[in-house]
Point group: C2
Chain length 432, copies 2
């Protein structure tokens, strides 16, 4: 006999948590779909050549081999994110897609991380991206944070979306006389601000050979954060006429006007976020949970110039954002922030007190299910105490006594277990 | 540049098919939940020792290695079904589960099949199982086919569920004086009836050294099929008093009485199905689609004595059934049996005719979404013809003209693209 033990890095939830996870996934999907995003599910497996198309793979990847074969060259592997598969899918099917192509994709991804660092090796991401053909309207840059805001509102989790624009940063650096290589180096260091603080970043920039005044200017810019209108005003006060900077400001201005209805508790402009290592070229997003600052950004993304240049000779700009679903969930579970009491979707347990009431139980259950009410019939006629204990343990909210029921006179007695309140009514009037 | 091509055996659908697949998955899940089954998702990855716990693995398994590491001993692999993971999960968490444990599980599984045989290497299964602690009521054996029947009814796909009971078969063979080894051999051959026909099965049984009269008796039993009441009557006429046979008949009798409301077009008893290689001990199920007989059984399962004897010293009987979702879908797609026209969940496209109508568009979209209506605003102010073409191509059913709208007087004009009908109404009265 093999005693199974958990596989470290491969999270699995208990039934109550499974239901909570499903509610979160359903909420995310619902908001995505309300905004016209269409489902995409790609295969979990990709050719290694596809995963490596961007050059060196800096993620730990799980490659596939045949258990009964001898390992040879790796040809297939599990995807490590949902962006490479999207790029490959769009390139492969570009002739049959209608642009702008808006897709949601909620799938697991796999990374061979060291489990001792508390990282997941198998986890869910919940992505949306909009891909344009040749060009892509800025309105989508404003739509994504609105969607994310709605998701967290519906989940009842406090979240603050931070928005910046790479053009503002790069244009500003250019106005300081820095070249692109220097700018890239600054982005990389400024990216560490939230983690290591102003002083250490300053030291790192000094080590790059930057002048004191340049460093001060870069840090000053990165400290602008707050309500969009305020940050825009502060940025304008810098009086930078550099073209790219102005273009970035204009884009931010549009987003601010689109999202003016969102409170700054929930959405700010933050010129200090840069997403250093990523390929973004315009708008960038990060999302923090004020109640769980240690989590860092739980939902990030941005605008990119070209989705699939490795796979197709066609300009496909895009903007996307990704929720780190498993990381979010495991944190909310650990904090007890999600209700995990219910063990089942069942709303009503129809009791089966004695053999001859079985037809009544069946008829009642069928009618409730037809009305969309999840219903179980207790599985055997035995002591009511035992039946009620079953409902109790699974946190089924209602039990139903079928004694009085007949097709001619469909009377039932129902009891809400939490309140203990019990009443008699016609079956069709019962609304749990 | 790498030109991506499909990975054979790893199906991926176009957007219209993706939506259709989602509708099918949602329908299956909804019916499962209406009957009180609770979501379970296990990790895709299992220890090889767990997958091999039943002894020799006769499925082709994909094992995992590190892309950047050197292949050594395989320790982890992708699951090849949802039953072994269920057994492992239940054993691992048995102290925290409430029995009977009813779970649904809709997940992908992986098998290293030869793709040239048209088989999938990555595909969805949609399983339900009920696991008891020590014993398990027969009422669940009757519940599963009722659930499957409802699913196919809701999908609008004609399906006929076939039910048998292993006890009837084995009891009958015993009554003919056959021992267990012989019985198992007969099951294996009779399993081929639908594929190779009576004559060839008869020859195979002769090759086993069985007598002519025994063969005739076995084949006669396996030919009993039809409405449950009729098959029960025919089985009783065989006048077999053998205990196991009688026990099986009694179980079938209970199931017949529970499912009397289901037409025999949709549900029959068929003493010819045996599910030869599986571990079932009582009720067994197969489901055929009369319109696609070549598909074979698309949904099979049965009752088993002990789920997890490899992992835990506790008697956990169960009954389960599994829908071969990807196989079903690919067949329905190939037959054009599913509507795949819609490219998006969007129900209404709000047109954006000119810049200054943007605030009205936003307000309209927000109100529609609040009412649960999936809405897009066209992404830039341009020629209406182009905007309508976008709706057309994505098969968005409604377009909305925002010209007349104001907060004070929320008039809009809407047009259904399929019918061409257009009318003016108050926004809150519009119901797409």
């Amino acid at each position: 006999m093999i005693k199974p033990t958990p596989l470290s890095g491969f999270p699995e939830w208990l039934p109550g948590q499974q239901l909570a996870e499903q509610r979160v996934i359903d909420t995310i999907r619902q908001v995505y779909e309300l905004h016209g995003f269409s489902r995409l599910e790609t295969s979990a497996v990709e050719r290694v050549s596809v995963l490596a198309a961007k050059g060196e793979i800096n993620k730990e990847i799980y490659a596939l081999g045949r258990l009964q074969g001898t390992p040879g060259r790796w040809e297939m592997a599990l995807h490590f994110d949902l962006t490479v598969p999207l790029a490959r899918y769009v390139a492969q099917n570009s002739g049959q897609l209608h642009f702008p192509f808006k897709r949601w994709q909620i799938q697991k991804v796999w990374r061979g991380e060291r489990p001792q660092e508390g990282r997941f090796r198998e986890f869910y991401q919940a992505d949306i991206d909009v891909i344009g053909d040749g060009q892509l309207s800025l309105s989508f840059d404003a739509e994504l944070p609105e969607i994310i805001d709605q998701i967290f509102q519906r989940l009842g989790v406090r979240a603050q979306i931070n928005i910046n624009n790479r053009k503002v940063l790069l244009g500003y650096y250019r106005s300081l006389g820095l070249d692109d290589a220097q700018s890239a180096a600054i982005l990389r260091e400024v990216d560490k601000l939230a983690k290591i603080g102003r002083q250490q970043v300053s030291a790192l920039l000094q080590a790059q050979g930057l002048e004191e005044s340049t460093i001060a200017a870069c840090l000053k810019l990165s400290e602008l954060q707050g309500p969009p209108a305020q940050v825009l005003a502060q940025a304008r006060e810098l009086q930078v006429s550099q073209e790219l900077f102005q273009e970035g400001l204009k884009e931010l201005q549009f987003i601010a006007s689109e999202l003016a209805h969102i409170d700054s508790q929930r959405l700010i402009f933050n010129l200090g976020i840069v997403r250093g290592l990523d390929y973004y070229t315009g708008t960038i997003y990060e999302t923090m949970l004020p109640d769980y600052p240690s989590l860092g950004s739980i939902c990030s993304g941005g605008r990119y110039e070209n989705l699939a240049s490795e796979f197709i000779n066609r300009q496909l700009p895009g903007v996307g954002i990704s929720i780190g679903l498993s990381r979010l969930l495991s944190h909310l579970f650990a904090q007890g922030a999600l209700d995990c009491q219910r063990q089942t979707p069942t709303q009503v347990l129809v009791l089966w007190p004695q053999e001859d009431l079985r037809p009544a139980c069946r008829e009642i259950a069928r009618q409730l299910r037809q009305r969309g009410i999840a219903t179980e019939i207790y599985h055997q006629p035995e002591a009511l105490k035992k039946q009620i204990r079953y409902a109790d343990r699974k946190a089924i909210p209602w039990i139903l006594f079928p004694y009085l029921y007949s097709s001619a006179d469909p009377q039932v007695e129902v009891k809400e277990l939490a309140s203990g309140q019990q009443h008699q009514c016609r079956l069709e009037e019962f609304q749990p």
